[in-house]
C-alpha cells in the first residue's frame, strides 16, 4: 500500500502559486515526490505527489484557504505507486499538421495497437487562429522495431499529418 496522494491544482495562472502551495504543504508536515507543472492555455496546472503525516482530510483543510485565495480548483486522491519507478523511453514520435479534431486519437490508436507505452506527451496548438497547427511530441517505450513503428505510422500521411519516429538513445556516462 502506497502512502502517496496525487494533488491536482488548476486555475488562472499568476506568479507565486507554487511557492504559496508548497509552503502550506510543508507547514503541515507533507513530503513532496514527483511533480509536473505546466501552463496550458493560460491556466496553471500541477500534479504533485504528496505524502502526509496526517490524514488527507486535514491536509485539504489546511490548504483550503490558500487555494481559495489563489482561485484554484483542488483535488487529492490516494494513489498506488511511489518513487523510483522510472521507465526509460526508447522511441520519440513527433507529430504536426493542420489542426483538426481526431489527430491525437489517430496517432495514439496506432501506437496502442503496437503496444507502445506513452511515458510523456506534450501538445500545443501553434500557428494563428485562422491557420492553427497542431504539434505533439510523444516519448515512450515500445518493443517493436523502429521500422515497424514507422511503417504503421506511414498510413497517417494520407490524413495530412506528418509523423516522425526516432530512436531515443540514452547515454549513460
Amino acid at each position: 500500500m502506497s502512502d502517496w496522494n496525487m494533488l491536482t491544482l488548476v486555475g488562472a495562472d499568476r506568479p507565486g502559486i507554487v511557492a504559496r502551495v508548497t509552503r502550506a504543504l510543508f507547514a503541515c508536515g507533507c513530503h513532496l515526490g514527483e511533480a509536473s507543472m505546466i501552463r496550458l492555455g493560460g491556466n496553471f496546472t500541477i500534479m504533485l505527489m504528496v505524502r502526509a503525516e496526517q490524514p488527507s482530510a486535514q491536509v485539504l483543510e489546511t490548504l483550503h484557504p490558500v487555494v481559495a485565495e489563489l482561485g484554484l480548483r483542488m483535488h487529492m486522491d490516494p494513489v498506488t505507486g511511489g518513487l523510483h519507478r522510472h521507465l526509460a523511453p526508447n522511441l520519440q514520435v513527433r507529430v504536426h499538421g493542420a489542426d483538426r479534431a481526431g489527430i491525437v486519437a489517430d496517432v495514439t490508436e496506432v501506437l496502442a495497437a503496437l503496444g507502445f507505452n506513452i511515458l510523456e506527451l506534450e501538445s500545443d496548438v501553434a500557428g494563428d487562429a485562422d491557420r492553427p497547427v497542431y504539434i505533439m511530441n510523444i516519448q515512450g517505450y515500445c518493443e517493436r522495431t523502429l521500422e515497424e513503428v514507422r511503417a504503421a505510422m506511414a498510413a497517417l500521411s494520407d490524413r495530412h499529418v506528418c509523423v516522425d519516429v526516432a530512436p531515443i538513445e540514452i547515454l549513460i556516462g
Partner: protein, 167 residues
Amino acid sequence: MAILEILTLPDPRLKQVSEPVVTFDAELRAFVADLEETRLAGPAAVGIAAPQVGRFQRILIVDVSGRPKTPNHGHLILVNPEITHWEGFAIGREGCLSVPDYTGNVIRATGIRLKAQDLDGASHEFDMEGFEARAVQHELDHLDGLLFVDRVVSRRTDLYRRKVYKT
C-alpha cells in the same frame, strides 16, 4: 584490479575541478585498469571519468564501439583531454553512474575536435561526431565539476526544426 566506489549525488566532491596528469607511470596504468573494471561493472556505461571514483585527475574512458551504426574511435583512454572545436548542437537524453535513477535532456555539440594524451603521454587528435562526441562532452564535464543535471533542459525544449548550417 578492483571495482572502485562510485561517488553519487549529492557528494560535494563531484563539484571538484580535476588536475592535469603529469606523471605517466605504472600506477596510472593500474588506476585506469581499475577505472575500466568499475565502468564495466555498472549499468552499461559508455564512459567514466576519474573524479567519479574520487581521483581528481583529468582522465576519461569512453567506448561507444558496442553500439550499432555508431561512428567511433574504439576504446579510448583520454588523458588531459581538451575540446578545441565544437560544431552543431542537438538534444539527447543522458543518465550517469553518479546520478542513479534519473535521465534528462541535455544539449551537446554534434561534432567536436579533441586533443588528448594516451597512457604513455603521447598526444593524439580526434574528430568525433554524434554519440561518441556526446559521451566525451558528458565525461569531460566531470573533470570540471559539472554533472549532466547542471545542463538539463526542459522536456518541452525541442530543437528538431532548427538546423545549424556550416559556413
